[in-house]
């Protein structure tokens, strides 16, 4: 097995465990590459990649762009705020216009769930989903698992709790799929209003008490409260949310064991996680960011190897 089973990365749910294994092994090599004095390899000299961001992003966009450049691909960037989308152009038209300039691969973030699946069925290019609404964010889940593997040796058999706004989170869904594929147990924890109604159908444990959840887990992945996706109020106040679901040093120190803290960023310091926790040795938040580049290089490299000219 040295080839992905898919031609696009639309979501973790389309991958199998060998795919994840292959991505991780390839990322190991790229992690070595990006720690060299010269961090660039010429593999993708003949590939052009378009980064289409129909929704704001800083770290994901930078991480993808850096990964592409480290592989020597040609890169074009596009943000919806400065484009003809505002003038009424459809998604397929926008993308086909870009593809007619001989682009081989599209990395897309879009506010609508399923946008990348839709695109993959209608255009002739490799598609990487960089987040579609509250659906999936596969590269984030891959880099999260990769970071757990790096810190704890493996993902298999570990207990991972995802804390916070599960309802609006694409990171949560992709993480649940990825962790389960690799044999981890997953729990979600948050206020009832932010837990999707039938989430237990995915085979995850559900807990509303943060202390109980933290005592159970090896790793806690803290999510941000996505105020921008909330049209109504899901909890009385930010202060109350922090009291119930915020992680602070005192809480961590009172647990029976030392757990690993993750956060996909951007962090709201003092809301879901306090500064002393975010900057502590238990947190692997910046490792996650570094691994993000290696993981994205691996995904792009493996998908590009399936493009035939």
């Amino acid at each position: 097995m040295s080839e992905l089973s898919v031609n696009h990365l639309l979501g973790i749910k389309y991958l199998n465990s060998q795919d994840i294994q292959l991505i991780f092994e390839t990322a190991d090599h790229f992690k070595e590459v990006i720690n060299r004095p010269i961090k660039k390899v010429p593999s993708l000299r003949d590939i052009t990649i378009a980064n289409l961001f129909f929704e704001n992003s800083t770290r994901t966009k930078l991480s993808f762009e850096l990964a592409e450049k480290r592989l020597s691909a040609d890169v074009i960037n596009f943000s919806a705020s400065q484009s003809s989308v505002k003038k009424g152009e459809t998604l397929i038209d926008t993308v086909n216009n870009i593809l007619s300039m001989k682009v081989d691969m599209v990395v897309m973030r879009h506010p609508n769930p399923g946008a990348s699946v839709f695109l993959s069925q209608h255009v002739n290019a490799s598609i990487i989903n960089a987040g579609d609404g509250a659906h999936e964010h596969p590269t984030q889940a891959l880099l999260d698992s990769y970071s757990i593997r790096e810190r704890l040796g493996s993902v298999k058999g570990k207990n991972v709790v995802i804390v916070g706004d599960i309802l609006h989170s694409r990171v949560a869904l992709s993480n649940i799929f990825a962790l389960q594929l690799q044999g981890a147990s997953v729990m979600v924890c948050g206020p009832k209003t932010l837990l999707p109604k039938y989430i237990d159908k995915l085979g995850v444990k559900v807990e509303t008490n943060l202390r109980k959840a933290l005592n159970w887990c090896d790793v806690a992945n803290m999510l941000r409260v996505q105020n921008e996706r909330m049209e109504i109020s899901y909890f009385p106040s930010t202060r109350e949310y922090t009291q119930q679901y915020g992680v602070n040093k005192a809480l961590l120190d009172s647990l029976d064991k030392e757990i690993t803290i993750m956060h996909p960023g951007p962090i709201n310091r003092g809301v879901e996680i306090t500064s002393d926790v975010a900057d502590s040795k238990q947190a692997i938040i910046l490792d996650q960011v570094q691994n993000g580049v290696a993981i994205r290089m691996a995904v792009i490299y493996l998908l590009a190897s399936k493009i035939k000219h």
Binding site: P37, P42, S305
Partner: protein, 179 residues
Amino acid sequence: MSQKVLLNAKEVNIILHRLACQLIENHNDFTDTVLIGLQPRGKYLANRLAKMLKEEYKIKNIQLGYLDITFFRDDFRRGEKPLEANTTEINFLVEDKNIVFIDDVLYTGRSIRAALTAIQSFGRPNEIELLTLIDRRFSRHLPIQPDYRGRQVDAINEEKVKVNWQENDGEDSVYLINN
């Protein structure tokens, strides 16, 4: 499929000793020299030579690394199978060093071309030499020749040269395989 023995264990051993002596002749105590085995197959030859230099010729400062060239190859997406990477382990600086690339078979020269590019990521070496156990002459695509060669072989393109190592394949030997 037929195969012919090009070198047996005894001949491989004699050649390794000669190559080790030739390296000593040019590099003295190896203060400014580093050995780089090219992944995947050059690693075994590099290990063997490094061990021999250390144990039998009592050279203390042998620096040995392995270089993977997968991401620098010029046939990405041209073959049927995707390229699989190996580990690069270079835990020293190559800046201003004399490098000896070590590989088992020199054929088209394309791997060496890739290695010459790949090593630049680790600094600017003073000089690079090439050592190969088998030199398949007349089949080069690029103007690349070895500085140290074990045995020169005339093989046609349909033939394959297979180098076996005790630690990996159970015996030291070189075969010419005709499909």
